[in-house]
Symmetry: C2
Subunit: 256 residues, 2 copies
């Protein structure tokens, strides 16, 4: 059997330690291609570049793994990888490993997960990985064994149409990791604030800040799993329809 084709991308940029580790992890598992942003794209959500053209540069020379840096967002990277680099769908897309959590509602803001969601929309089994440590020197290796197990399961089983996986990894030592929990997105909210300052010309500017507030502690959530030293695996869908709300809205009187 020929080796599976694996596309690797991220949102922290092609030189970030998170993606360098992920490339090493998947190297033995398939034929690897890397297409990732040429700069950090954190918090880009599902942004696409439509008002300006993209640049795509092959940055690997003689290495066995072709690597391309792209001027666009993580979603752009997936689109250009499939149509221009691979010219076919890969067998797997892995995005990350993100420097920082994409659990709970953070999935919505995440460029890492948007790349995975875009992969799912293209019919590619896709996984986003994130480590709960923002630092440049984070330890991505402790969870290597578990990351590879998740990837092997997706390579063997595929993923149901319309879904991808959001994997978050607690920032603990290897011997403290308890395993893998399949869970749902926890209910939570960012209580935003802005740090309001004046520039040297006396004009106002604002830095986004905020505090993450968990609204539940149920054991079937990703936040519970992470707090208890499990990797959380949440299947994510891109059908955003709130089906349970449809009957309620249908009762409304739109003719009044």
């Amino acid at each position: 059997m020929s080796k599976p084709v694996i596309l690797v991308t991220n949102d922290d940029g092609i030189l970030a330690p998170g993606i360098r580790n992920l490339i090493e992890f998947v190297k033995p598992l398939g034929e690897i291609y890397v297409v990732a942003p040429n700069k950090a794209q954190s918090g880009m959500g599902h942004a696409v570049t439509i008002n300006k053209p993209l640049r795509l540069e092959k940055i690997s020379k003689d290495s066995e793994i072709p690597e391309y840096s792209c001027s666009g967002t993580p979603v752009d990277c997936v689109k250009i990888a499939v149509t221009q680099v691979l010219q076919k769908k890969p067998d797997l897309l892995v995005s990350g490993i993100n420097h920082g959590s994409n659990s709970s509602v953070n999935v919505i803001y995440s460029g890492t997960m948007s790349a995975a969601i875009e992969g799912a929309m293209e019919g590619i089994p896709s996984i986003g990985f994130s480590l709960l440590d923002y630092s440049f020197h984070a330890d991505f290796v402790s969870a290597k064994k578990h990351i590879i197990r998740i990837i092997k399961n997706v390579l063997n089983n595929g993923l149901p149409s319309g879904s991808c996986l959001n994997v978050n990894i607690p920032a603990v030592k290897e011997n403290e990791l308890k395993g893998i929990k399949v869970c749902r997105q926890a209910r939570a909210k960012w209580n935003e604030n802005f740090d309001h300052r004046k520039d040297p010309s006396g004009n106002d500017y604002y830095w986004l800040t905020g505090e993450f507030k968990l609204h539940e502690n149920n054991k079937d959530t990703d936040e519970w799993a992470l707090k208890n030293n499990y990797l959380s695996v949440v299947p994510v869908q891109y059908d955003f329809t709130a089906y349970n709300v449809i009957p309620e809205i249908k009762k409304w009187n739109f003719d009044a």
Copy 2:
């Protein structure tokens, strides 16, 4: 009873005809505040600005409606409006009217809908409106009656926690509009391509192009409603968990 506080935003920028029309429509319904991007932000998805500060400028002078232009994304506009401009949650958020469709999977890329989703995450009843006409001189007035009916229903009934509304409007004359249909997001896919060119220095660049491919024609979908001259109303949620996939993934062997 005091007038409801209504926040108006969009992704085409504060000067776009779509938002100017929406402001006129909601003016009689409440106390209006406008906080919208200072430039077009189409395709920004749920992007937030975290690596640079935001600018916020009051552009209205003596008018009855305070209007602020913001240097950030639609999601940034919602966050800064709630915390810095209103300093409380409004009673309603309306986003749009977008120049162009946000039906089916387009909801995922849409800045208009991301503003509405952000509103829902903050606990604000929120609606995104989009007209199926990209042109600057699109006719936003034909659907005025229906838009106001939807807004009045949300003001009266609220929206279930965790959801907002995605309203799309067919680009037809007033007398051709058949009414409002509550529906689900149609299954569809963009078949992307890139227009690959060389710049004057001989370097490659790529324009994103693509073709929208509908994968179903079922009568309960937004695409069917729009094709049959109905406004489509899809309740949208920000819990992305694919609940039906959880049992399947739980069967996997993560210890192998």
